[in-house]
Each structure stands twice: as structure tokens, then as C-alpha cells.
Amino acid sequence: MALDRELVGRSYPPSPVYEVGRGKIAEFATAVGDDDPVYRDPAAARSAGHPDVIAPPTFAIALTLEAANVVLGDPQVSLDYSRVVHGEQRFTHHRPIRAGDRLVATTTIEAVRSVAGNDMLTTRVDVATEAGEPVCSATSMLVARGTA
């Protein structure tokens, strides 16, 4: 079943606050095999000009994946999730995520398309501090194969 084009632009309420810890950043850096000290050592991060340890460039997915789940719960979004694959991903960073950040994620449906029987859903998750400072945006395009 094709996705309703009227979904484009729909925004969902912001996520609960996600507090970024040094331990979580180090865990993620280890999981992607990166031993850069700016991910672990506050002194190294400060000498590189950051107030605290920063997160690797794709770290935001650890909160945006969860935040974008709000779309799955929308009864008007008819996507067969058993057939969904991740088609594209984009990150736009206003500044690096860093330890101590208290972040909220707001999800918006950016585009829906149907091509050759495949439904494509693009969501954008805007990540900002609790105080409203924009930090990054994560845009994901999901493809549900052969659901039309």
C-alpha cells in the first residue's frame, strides 16, 4: 500500500531528554574501532578546542534511531517494516555532540515516494539541546520493497 503524500511535513512531539555521557561516547567509539583520544580524554578534547569529549560523527544514530520510532507508531504510516531496508543516511552537524549535552530529538516526515512498487519514507530527526541550540540533523531514507 502506497504511503499517503499528506504525511509529508508531519512532525512529532520532541523526545524525552537524552543525556550524553562520556562512557556512552567511549563505548560507541570502541564499537566503531576508533581510538582517537578526543572521544575519551577530556584533556585531549580541550586541546583540540572542544569543551569536553566529543562523539564520533555517526553517534547521533544512537538517539535518532529511537526517536524516529515514533513514525512506526503512527497508524497513518502504512509501511511493511518486515521488508524495510535502510536506503540512505545523512548527518548535518552544527557542532559535534559532546559529553554533558542534554538533547531532545524532533522527528519530521520529510518525503514519501513510491518507485517501481517500492515505498520510500524519508524522516529527518533534528537534535537540539534542551535550551534550543541546534546540534545536528539526521536524515534517513527507508525503503520497503514490493509493498505496493
Partner: protein, 141 residues
């Protein structure tokens, strides 16, 4: 390390190639760190039931490995201001004591007046291209 200067970069500059081995243990660790527990990344039975040749790496792990080539070159991970990939073929990670691999090459494709370099990445696994339109924008000093 300090951030790379625009004066030291030209269109055509090649980034050092890196080859990343990927094992099942790496996939389990990435699942835990990212919160993506889709069983196609750790369960052979589920992976083959949905038509895959076997367990595959998280696309987001491949994306993260490719970013390492850019951030190491740039000297500061905070320099990577925009990053986009399209996922093509999967990275197979067999349970054979060896696992899979991801090979990443990069080249500066454009340089803007405000000191931003566009790096185009070529990301392959066992010779097959696994990401397409993989591009990073790096803010140089």
C-alpha cells in the same frame, strides 16, 4: 592532532586508504552501542529467511568506518560537518574465523572558497562497491 589547513589540500588530494576487518563480535558490539538489534546483523537463520546470503554488517557501521578515514585525515572529528551515504550492496560477515572487510578510499572532489572540502569516498567489500554517493564535507582551517 590539529585540524588540516585548506592550504594543504587540493582537488584530487587522495586520503590514505584503510582496510577494516569486520567480525561477528564487532557486529554484536556495534548493536549494543548503537541500539540497533536487528537480528539480520547477528542471526544467520533470520538473515537467510529474509533472503540474505548470511549475516550482514549494519549499514551504519560501514558508514562509521568510512568516516574514520575522513576524521583521521582531517585531524579533528569535529571538522566533519556533513556526511551522506547511499547503501548499496550489503557487507557479508561470515562466521568462518576471518569475517568480512570494508575498504575505504577517499579523494577531495571540490574545495570551496570558505575552506570546505568535499571528500568523495569509495567503499568496497571483497571488491564490491557497498556504498554509493558517499560524501563528506570537511571544514578546514
Amino acid at each position: 592532532m590539529s585540524r588540516l589547513a585548506a592550504a594543504d589540500v587540493a582537488v584530487g588530494t587522495e586520503l590514505p586508504e584503510q582496510v577494516f576487518p569486520v567480525t561477528r563480535a564487532d557486529l554484536v558490539r556495534y548493536a549494543g552501542a548503537s541500539g540497533d538489534f536487528n537480528p539480520i546483523h547477528w542471526n544467520e537463520r533470520v538473515a537467510t529467511e529474509v533472503g540474505l546470503p548470511g549475516v550482514i554488517a549494519h549499514g551504519m557501521l560501514t558508514m562509521a568506518l568510512a568516516a574514520r578515514v575522513v576524521t583521521r585525515w582531517a585531524g579533528d572529528p569535529g571538522a566533519l560537518v556533513e556526511y551522506h551515504v547511499r547503501f548499496g550492496r550489503p557487507v557479508l560477515v561470515p562466521d568462518d574465523g576471518v569475517g568480512g572487510e570494508v575498504t575505504v578510499r577517499g579523494r577531495v572532489a571540490a574545495l570551496s572558497d570558505d575552506g570546505r572540502a568535499r571528500v568523495d569516498l569509495t567503499v568496497t567489500s571483497r571488491g564490491d562497491k557497498v556504498l554509493s554517493l558517499a560524501r563528506a564535507i570537511v571544514a578546514l582551517t
